[in-house]
């Protein structure tokens, strides 16, 4: 019997194609990834069967589990323009540095008089910032409704300007109209959400996108809790 001969070839294999592919994927994911900005409060939205994704251009009001409203705009240009208008109306001054920092914030839930202090605070301090949310008293202190009104004006202005510019240049316009989104915690009382809804309906805004999580394991967990 002859001995079994060992293969003489080297045991190392050429991994170049695999590495090429890996880097291709890295590049793809790096370029497509959009990072979420830090949110001022953790909100656990209720689940639903809806599979519609949230549009990109939104004016978002978040309601936390204690019913406090937070305000945010997705369009960066409109966000800063809204701040300028609010600053004029409520006579609150912002430094250039504060305006720049405000552009990087996703949403906030403080009185406009506390806003400069809130912007200067660090990420950790903001979490502990004593707040009652954006004041939403339609008679005495309608700050939320002012924020929404100015933000709607600004975003719609930008939308129309971009659309006309695209038309003049003979290009297809891909922009979206602004949508009003509400992200509320499942444990929040409905009346606090209703107060926010009323702010919108008073401005003749009747269509909303309620942000929900996708129906799945979460609901089962709560049912098990009951048992």
């Amino acid at each position: 019997m002859s001995k079994i001969k060992m293969a003489k070839g080297s045991p190392s294999l050429d991994m170049t194609p695999m590495v090429d592919l890996a880097f291709l994927l890295v590049t793809f994911f790096m370029l497509t990834a959009s990072f979420r900005m830090a949110e001022p409060v953790v909100v656990d939205p209720p689940a639903s069967h809806s599979d519609k994704t949230l549009p990109d251009n939104t004016i978002l009001v978040t309601v936390d589990n204690q019913g406090r409203p937070y305000f945010g705009v997705s369009n960066a240009e409109a966000k800063l323009a809204t701040l300028m208008k609010m600053s004029d109306k409520y006579k609150v001054k912002f430094t250039d540095d504060q305006i720049r920092k405000f552009g990087g914030m996703s949403s906030f839930g403080v009185d406009i008089n506390d806003l400069p202090k809130y912007i200067d605070a660090s990420e950790n301090e903001r979490q502990k910032f004593p707040t009652k949310g954006v004041p939403n008293d339609s008679l005495k202190n309608p700050q939320l409704s002012d924020w929404v009104r100015y933000a709607a004006q600004e975003t719609n202005g930008i939308y129309i300007r971009e659309r006309d510019a695209a038309k003049a240049a003979g290009k297809d316009f891909m922009g979206e109209k602004v949508r009003y989104a509400i992200k509320a915690d499942g444990k929040a009382k409905y009346i606090s959400v209703k107060a926010v809804l009323k702010t919108f309906t008073d401005m003749k805004i009747y269509r909303f996108n309620l942000i929900t999580s996708l129906e799945g394991g979460e609901k089962k967990a709560t049912e098990e809790e009951k048992k």
Partner: protein, 210 residues
């Protein structure tokens, strides 16, 4: 491993000068490791970040003078504390009403599939049957998708399909409302609205949950 092999060309000018013997291969293992680390990071973080949303419309306020329209096939859901849900079918009849109709009573149900879901399906058979028929037509290529959407909307808006009112008291949570609306969407109820509770309804509810 992936390596760049290079024979170190050049250096052949000076005849006797010896070419360097050192290999120019670079060990790329650390770079590839880092590449995969980044790949894993981006794969895990970037997907599933887009939130889902539920579109909903609220009615424009109407002046109190206009009488609400008569609803034949209707259900009113009343949400309250501890995730409890009550409902009644049809119009609200106050006790001792002049028409001599029996007074409305609240029945209780649950958010589980055997509760609210079943009631809504039973009451909304017209829209469900019509849409099921349309769906088979689409499957058999007898109907275009766009026409299906329009006809499904018509079926949901038909008089024979269900109309629902969702009402809450101060104690109901936002989750309850979203659950109820979601259930209405799942049961293909096209006509629903979230409105305020009337005083007689509230009186009925407080008596019930006491």
């Amino acid at each position: 491993m992936a390596e760049i092999a290079d024979d170190g060309g050049g250096h052949k000018k000076g005849g006797k000068k010896r070419a360097k013997k050192q290999s120019t291969r670079i060990d790329m293992t650390p770079m590839v490791d880092l590449g995969f680390l980044l790949l894993t990071f981006f794969v895990l973080t970037s997907t599933f970040s887009k939130p889902k949303s539920m579109e909903i419309s609220f009615p424009a306020p109407i002046d109190n003078q206009t009488k609400p329209p008569e609803v034949k096939n209707g259900i009113t859901l009343i949400l309250t504390k501890d995730n409890r849900i009550f409902y009644y079918k049809g119009q609200f009849n106050a006790p001792n009403n002049p028409d001599g109709k029996p007074a409305t009573e609240l029945s209780e149900t649950t958010f589980s599939s055997g509760g609210l879901h079943k009631i809504l399906l039973e009451m909304n058979t017209y829209a469900n049957d019509e849409i099921a028929k349309l769906e088979t037509k689409v499957k058999n290529r007898q109907l275009a998708d766009t026409a299906f959407k329009r006809l499904a909307m018509d079926a949901k808006g038909d008089k024979r399909s269900l109309t629902a009112l969702v009402k809450t008291d101060d104690q109901a949570t936002y989750k309850n409302v979203v659950d109820a609306v979601d259930e209405l969407n799942v049961c293909l109820v096209g006509k629903y609205v979230i409105v305020d509770m009337t005083a007689p309804e509230y009186a009925l509810l407080t008596a019930k949950i006491k």
